[in-house]
Amino acid sequence: MLIFEHTQPGRRAHAQAPIDAPGAPDLPAELLRQLPPLLPQASELDVVRHYTRLSQKNFSIDTQFYPLGSCTMKYNPRACNTLAMLPQLLARHPLADAETGQGFLVCLHELQEMLKEITGMAAVSMAPMAGAHGEFAGVAMIRAYHDARGDSARREIIVPDAAHGTNPATASMCGYTVREIPTDRQGNVDLNALKASVGPHTAGLMLTNPSTLGVFEKSIVAIQKIVHEAGGLSYYDGANLNAILGRVRPGDMGFDVIHMNLHKTFSTPHGGGGPGAGPVGVSERLRPFLPIPYVLEDRGAYRWAEEDDCPRSIGRMSAFGGNMGVLLRAWVYARMLGGRGMRRVAEFATLNANYLAAELRRSGFDLAFPERRASHEFIVTLKKLKDATGVSAMDFAKRLLDYGFHAPTTYFPMLVPECLLIEPSETESRETLDAFVAAMVQVLEEARMQPEMVKGAPHTLPVRRLDDVKAARELNLTWKPG
């Protein structure tokens, strides 16, 4: 039932808005609305009950294990939310003078400095509001750098074929063409292909490390040098920062720019699709181009760096500076972890991934890169199962939902057939991992014995398999009164 179907004309939540409002005789009639918008007319209890019930139709970290590869679905500590929602912080207007927000700004400055330390970069801006937004800022800075030097022939960004789709999409948004390079059989960037691709047309390389194949690029320093020697800049996609936190730093590897996904590594909530935060860190030569605003400190006083402070900045990413509430949550998380806690994140995320990989392999699953050490995630391929039974990775994933586990990432990266990309994160216990292995084994058994049942999964959720084709062909994007 939709909220609109609860409507009774004339009913409303009387406590929540003025009952009688003055007219607006000064507004010209031709500018006024004639018919009211289609909004529910319901009581407060109707609304509370409706949305509480809808929430119960979701999987979430608070209710289920979410081994979703490349998404880092770890526990979102409740203190982060409570403290970011202190009433003074919520009430502060974005355009209020900096002197009214020193307590808020010192938190953001501390976070900015911690992110510099963690990534080993020369400077950080937290203006981007999501990972892809950070990617945009990073590639726009690469372009601004080349343009400032009059080096305008560099029009190509190199992206490995295993990359997230946001990498090539971002390069296009910045006016670049994309050159894909292949991955070798060990899951590394093909160095010969890279060498053959670089040249005076190369603006830069975007690289995810550990890669989306769940392995660390062994030749990371060499890769970066090949690009630099050709005159290009190197971009470190920090989507998988959780795997290396406190152990190695992209700045030390020689990279020029990195974005971080705070909604992954710093445990801010995914919120059913957002908000996130995608700060960018840069090397010294990209510092002048950082997006604004970022926090400046001057003898214990804090303020935003704006246009006048940074005349060569690539500019503004948002009207009011970024997803401040997300940054505050990340600050709370970072302060609760401390430097040593961050190093433990990488250690235990890696321990959990390698344990899960070992147990699944032992239970008869095929790893895509069995000879490699897993980073914080790894890939299982179900190609043999699909060939033998017709049960696909998607069917398998849907059946896992019936066992109360969120499905791993399916069909990504695209170069491994029938793949499940599995990332357990450091906050899950051994018992949870064992229960997941048991469910995987159970589904494998079912796929062999009752393939049709698995293909029809899920069977126990609020809905069964949904018809995506119908959704796309017969567009139904809004409700219309009957």
């Binding site: 909004l39 209020a96 059913g272 009207a319 961050m342 321990l351």
Partner: protein, 464 residues
């Protein structure tokens, strides 16, 4: 170990199953020379109690102000139920609803949201949100350039569009060879100058703000028809709360605007120093395949029961990669959840009454302020819930003196509009009482009087 459940026995048993001698051994594929050692620049860990005390102290330091700032972010009452439900773990800690069967809660919320926004703006389709109002406008400009078959890469951008929005659009589209042509405003009325617009001619799109940055109401019907007569798309950028009262962009002029965007913050999102907010985007049906961002559609399951799923994913980066309509992936789902619950609680009448009460308060404030010597209204003509006043004392000085009394007196316009260096943009929403408005008037009177020596009997400091 904060948030890590492993006991020493767990670690030993797990390493044994892996066949690794130590945790360090799990990193043996990382070149040893890259190891970074201790993160000296990250402070030592704090307990929840200690970090709570630290944060509470900092929040208390910032305190509360009586704010008359608007300029694109507005203080409105938010029902307690909104954020209590939004922060339920099932919404708060869920992922993007790619696994539709395990995400029917979020998906249905988004479908309801799309329905509400389409109706509020008078258009056919809505996406499931963008980052904020400014980035939504940037995406609308890119979308219009893609959709306009003329091939033009020029977009007409009135000076009455929020200056920060113009800056974000510029930063977003400049690398794609799109040119933004500024359209000046009429200094008498504060709305887009039609004669100047005429001299610029056709383009891929014309941006039409309503209300505009000054709070002034633009002649939207005329502007929309002007654009359509020149095969130029019309992009509306609006305050969604205002649409409870004002004509929806889908009904502007003879044919209605083509794309509508705006900042969703007034719909249940706290000010929070600037974010997270959410951008909304609605459009005519014919443009749906050019839209950026996620879209939810209704469908049925294997048993024919209704359900919801992400749809038209062939537009998006994870499928189309370099050919996608945008690189956007993460959006602002949780804020949209708040907005949906907020709109459901207020309903059509509640939302309209908030808009009317806000407008009445701003009118009352402006009347009180211009009754003072040295204060004038700047633009003639209708406005909605925000207006520009001119003061005969340096603006920075006035605002600083008001701040010392716990009042944020508005937004100084001189930084963005040098010709308005002596002007303040003021806003009083429904949250302000008669006493709040009087306090502002009294303090301003004292400040202007002190400066000009007219009334030495006014006490120097009435509040705080």
């Amino acid at each position: 170990m904060p948030f890590i459940p492993h006991t020493q026995a767990d670690v030993a048993a797990m390493l044994e199953r892996i066949g690794a001698p130590s945790l360090d051994a799990l990193f043996d594929e990382i070149p040893a020379e890259l190891a970074c050692g201790e993160l000296a620049g990250v402070p030592r860990a704090l307990s929840e109690m200690a970090v709570t005390r630290l944060m509470q102290g900092r929040a208390a330091q910032d305190g509360y102000y009586s704010s008359f700032l608007g300029a694109g972010a507005y203080e409105h009452h938010i029902p307690a139920a909104v954020w209590q439900i939004v922060t339920r773990g099932e919404f708060y800690s869920a992922y993007t609803p790619y696994q539709a069967e395990a995400s029917q809660g979020t998906l249905q919320v988004l479908y309801e949201y799309q329905t509400m926004m389409a109706s509020l703006t008078g258009l056919d389709v809505s996406n499931a949100s963008l980052y904020d109002g400014a980035s939504a406008l940037a995406e609308a400009v890119l979308m219009a350039v893609r959709a306009n078959k003329s091939g033009s890469r020029v977009v007409l951008m009135p000076a009455t569009v929020h200056p920060r929005y113009r800056a974000v659009v510029e930063a977003t589209v400049k690398n794609q060879g799109i040119e933004l042509l500024a359209v000046p405003y009429d200094p008498a009325t504060g709305v887009t100058d039609l004669a100047a617009l005429e001299s610029l001619g056709a383009a891929a799109a014309l941006v039409i703000p309503q209300p505009n940055f000054f709070g002034a109401l633009e002649p939207v019907d005329t502007l929309c028809d002007w654009a359509h007569a020149r095969a130029t798309l019309a992009i509306a950028v609006v305050n969604p709360l205002a649409l409870a009262l004002l004509k929806p962009p889908g009904l502007w002029g003879a044919k209605g605007c083509d794309i509508c965007v705006g900042e969703g913050q007034p719909l249940g999102v706290p000010l929070s120093s600037g974010g997270p907010y959410f951008g909304f985007m609605t459009a005519r049906q014919a443009l749906v395949r050019q839209m950026p961002g996620r879209i939810v559609g209704g469908t049925v399951d294997l048993d024919g029961r209704p359900g919801y799923a992400l749809t038209l994913q062939a537009r998006e980066q994870h499928i189309r990669r370099s050919k996608a309509t945008s690189n956007i992936c993460t959006n602002q789902g949780l804020l949209v959840t708040a907005a949906t619950i907020h709109m459901a609680l207020l309903g059509p009448e509640g939302l309209k009454n908030v808009a009317l009460a806000s407008h009445a308060n701003t009118r009352a404030l402006v009347d009180k302020l211009v009754s003072l010597a040295g204060v004038l209204r700047v633009f003639a003509g209708p406005f909605f819930h925000e207006a520009v006043i001119r003061v005969n004392t340096p603006v920075a000085e006035v605002l600083r003196a008001l701040r010392a009394q716990g009042i944020l007196g508005g937004y100084a316009l001189g930084g963005d509009y040098p010709e308005l260096a002596d002007c303040i943009l003021v806003c009083a929403t429904e949250t302000k009482t008669e006493d709040d408005l009087d306090a502002y008037r009294q303090q301003l009177e004292r400040i202007l009087g002190r400066r000009h020596g007219r009334d030495p009997s006014v006490p120097p400091c009435a509040y705080k």
